[in-house]
């Protein structure tokens, strides 16, 4: 494929707002996860909360006001991202910049709260409930597009935990075919009771902090995050998307193929698209949710393609599993790793599962790296791998 330049990117996670907070935490080995409850939840476990989401959106956007769009607003305000898009708008025109945003649950917290406030006979949801601008999967994409003053093509990708990795693929295809000249891609997913109680019902939520690749891993810790990248044809930019791979497991709705065949197909495609060999990859940011089955299946797939030659780690021990935002968070952390020459360790991992054969990184490594693969896999067997590089 034709590589795409990463003109600008930004991340807001439980580690803080903006890229510098992410890098500081990666260097210090300090997690953003806290053992605290979310909203009215009474489940044990750790969560990754983004601070400062109590301020309502500006008045003209009050119809869009919900935790998810506040998170988008906060994310857009970091690292000069909005200004970078404004500059791109003056270069290309707002109609020539596409917007592709991944989300899993969008503003469904608003729906949960509206159900608590339902009343009357027959029952009705309260008048403040704005389905189109909050609950609907497209609402966050709509909000981002309006906030950035863009009028090009757009859609919300919602493929569970691969959503905001797949936005890179959609943007690449749209730019290659000339349907836009540049694109804003991103992911925004906020904490809600649906995912906390839902993963708990599936017995995938850890009572302890999440411990990816650990022999005694118990499941995930959920986090929230917003991240965005501005993509343009590659020419003068330092960082690049070199390849992507997308596949399906064709196996089960919520359990991975134990052989990891779909994951393997996605990683192979990402390398093939960039005409790159496994030995050219310096670091793999694993999906690594810390559930027993997911981590094992991913290890199978990674070992089959890379053997034990390439350092691998999941960064979910820092941010938690940010679900629909996981793709952009880990793309952003992959880019941070490339820029800083830092291979982050598998945080919170005490004893690496002896069944694992790939090279799980126990201590951070500081050295120049050139090429990073980032994996994102989701429910429904939806897989996406992204290959990033610096010159």
């Amino acid at each position: 494929m034709t590589p795409l330049g990463i003109r600008h990117y930004t991340l807001t996670t439980a580690l803080g707002a903006g890229r510098a907070s992410q890098l500081d935490a990666l260097r210090n080995g300090s997690t953003g996860l806290r053992a605290e409850p979310f909203e009215s939840a009474t489940l044990p476990g750790w969560i990754g909360v983004v601070a400062g989401l109590d301020t309502p959106l500006p008045t003209e956007y009050s119809a869009w006001d919900c935790r998810n769009n506040r998170l988008a607003e906060k994310g857009l305000a970091q690292d000069g991202f909005t200004e970078a898009v404004a500059a791109a708008r003056s270069r290309y025109g707002g109609a020539r910049i596409g917007v592709f945003i991944g989300t899993s649950t969008s503003g469904v917290l608003q729906t949960e709260q509206a159900y608590r406030a339902r009343s009357g006979t027959p029952e009705q949801l309260p008048p403040w409930f704005q389905h189109a601008h909050t609950q609907n999967a497209y609402s966050v994409c709509d909000y981002v597009q309006r906030r950035l003053g863009l009028t090009g093509i757009s859609n919300a990708v919602s493929t569970a935990c691969s959503s905001s990795a797949k936005v890179f693929a959609s943007a690449q295809r749209a730019i290659a075919a000339g349907f836009c000249d540049a694109a804003v891609v991103g992911g925004v997913d906020s904490l809600c009771l649906t995912t906390l109680y839902g993963f708990n019902a599936l017995q995938l939520l850890a009572a302890d902090i999440c411990r990816p690749a650990d022999a005694n891993r118990q499941g995930l810790s959920i986090g929230e995050a917003a991240g965005f990248a501005l993509l343009e044809p590659a020419a003068e930019h330092a960082l690049r998307l070199e390849g992507y791979g997308e596949s399906n497991d064709a196996h089960h709705m919520s359990a991975p193929d134990p052989e990891g065949r779909g994951a393997l197909a996605a990683m192979r495609q990402a390398l093939a698209g960039a005409d790159t060999q496994p030995a050219d990859v310096d670091y793999i940011n694993l999906h690594g949710t810390a559930t027993p089955a997911n981590d094992l299946a991913e290890d199978h797939a990674v070992f089959a393609l890379f053997g034990a030659a390439v350092p691998c780690s999941s960064t979910k021990g820092w941010t938690g599993h940010t679900l629909g935002a996981a793709g952009i968070v880990e793309a952003g952390l992959a880019l941070t790793a490339l820029e800083a020459g830092l291979i982050p360790q598998s945080l919170n991992t005490r004893h690496i599962d002896p069944a694992f054969r790939s090279q799980i990184v126990h201590s951070a490594q500081q050295r120049p790296i050139k090429r990073v693969l980032s994996n994102s896999f989701g429910f429904g067997g939806s897989n996406c791998s992204l290959l990033f590089s610096r010159p």
Binding site: A95, S104, T111, E112, Y115, R118, P122, Q124, L125, F129, H131, A132, Q135, N136, A137, Y138, S139, C141, D142, Q145, L150, T151, G152, I153, S154, N155, A156, V157, S158, T159, A160, K166, A169, S170, R173, A174, A177, G178, F179, L193, T194, Y197, G198, F199, A201, L202, E246, S247, N248, A250, H251, M253, S254, G262, A265, G378, F379, G380, G381, S382
Partner: protein, 263 residues
């Protein structure tokens, strides 16, 4: 501008139970009569998965299975794009309701079926296809956004690509917030190259143009009553078989223009 070839079509909507029936109605050979869709069980799903699927997934399968019934290629070699404004409002209702109760007992099956890509996941299980698929939403314009996404995926991947647009009404509490006229789905199989099966050639481009409507008022009400049925002007032009240019709204100032020509 990109050029694609339509290999097969499928539909399931009130009074338009499948493509052969819809083609006769849309070409003006028979009158449209409102009729509920009969019950349906996805034929391609293994029995244990069939029991778990929701009305929304069944609705997606209905049009998809209608389209692949006239497709001569291998179904496990289809890439796919699923486009739905709202996915499964029934599940959102049940989970939101469960969360208002003390026990907060969310059904694990409901939760894994709650993802917007549930239909895509079941389709991959049903067909054994590991090829790329994605699932998008663009609110009322989900069909046109999905058509563009599918066309771009077919062009980039070289695979025949199945587009399925679907939405189903929610329970009363959510139907008030997001009213749909009825359950509906539309499926289109696009190919990057023409073949003996090809029904028509499509050229897609962006442009500000008039949004095409249906001359029949009842059918235009259907078009506006479910995001999947925004496809009707395109399907009508294909049923008539004449060259045409169809305008779709996209969620921005630009629309999508689709020119139809013989293969």
């Amino acid at each position: 501008m990109i050029e694609l070839f339509i290999q097969a079509l499928g539909i399931a909507a009130p009074g338009l139970a499948d493509w052969p029936q819809a083609r006769a109605v849309l070409a003006g050979h028979t009158a449209w009569a409102n009729a509920e869709l009969p019950p349906y069980q996805p034929a391609l799903l293994p029995p244990n998965e069939r029991r778990r699927v929701t009305p929304s997934v069944k609705q997606a399968f209905r049009a998809a299975e209608d389209a692949v019934s006239r497709y001569t290629g291998a179904v496990d070699q289809l890439a796919a794009v699923f486009a739905s404004s709202d996915g499964d409002l029934g599940i959102i209702h049940r989970i939101s309701l469960a969360l208002t109760e003390t026990a907060r007992a969310v059904s694990p099956t409901d939760f894994h079926n709650s993802v917007h890509n549930a239909a895509a996941g079941y389709w991959s299980i049903a067909t054994g296809s590991r090829l790329p698929s994605t699932t998008i939403s663009a609110y009322d314009d989900s069909f046109a956004a999905g058509l563009l996404e599918a066309a771009l995926l077919a062009t980039a991947s070289g695979h025949d690509t199945l587009l399925v647009a679907y939405d189903v009404p929610g329970p009363p509490l959510l139907q008030a917030a997001r009213p749909f006229i009825g359950a509906a789905s539309v499926a289109v199989i696009l190919s990057p190259s023409s073949g003996p099966q090809t029904l028509a050639r499509l050229r897609l481009s962006l442009g500000v143009g008039a949004v095409s409507t249906m001359p029949d008022l009842a059918l235009d009400a259907l078009r506006l009553g479910n995001p999947a049925l925004r496809a009707l002007p395109l399907l009508r032009a294909l049923a008539l078989g004449d060259p045409a240019a169809i305008g779709f709204a996209l969620p921005s100032s630009q629309g999508l223009r689709v020119e139809i020509a013989p293969p």
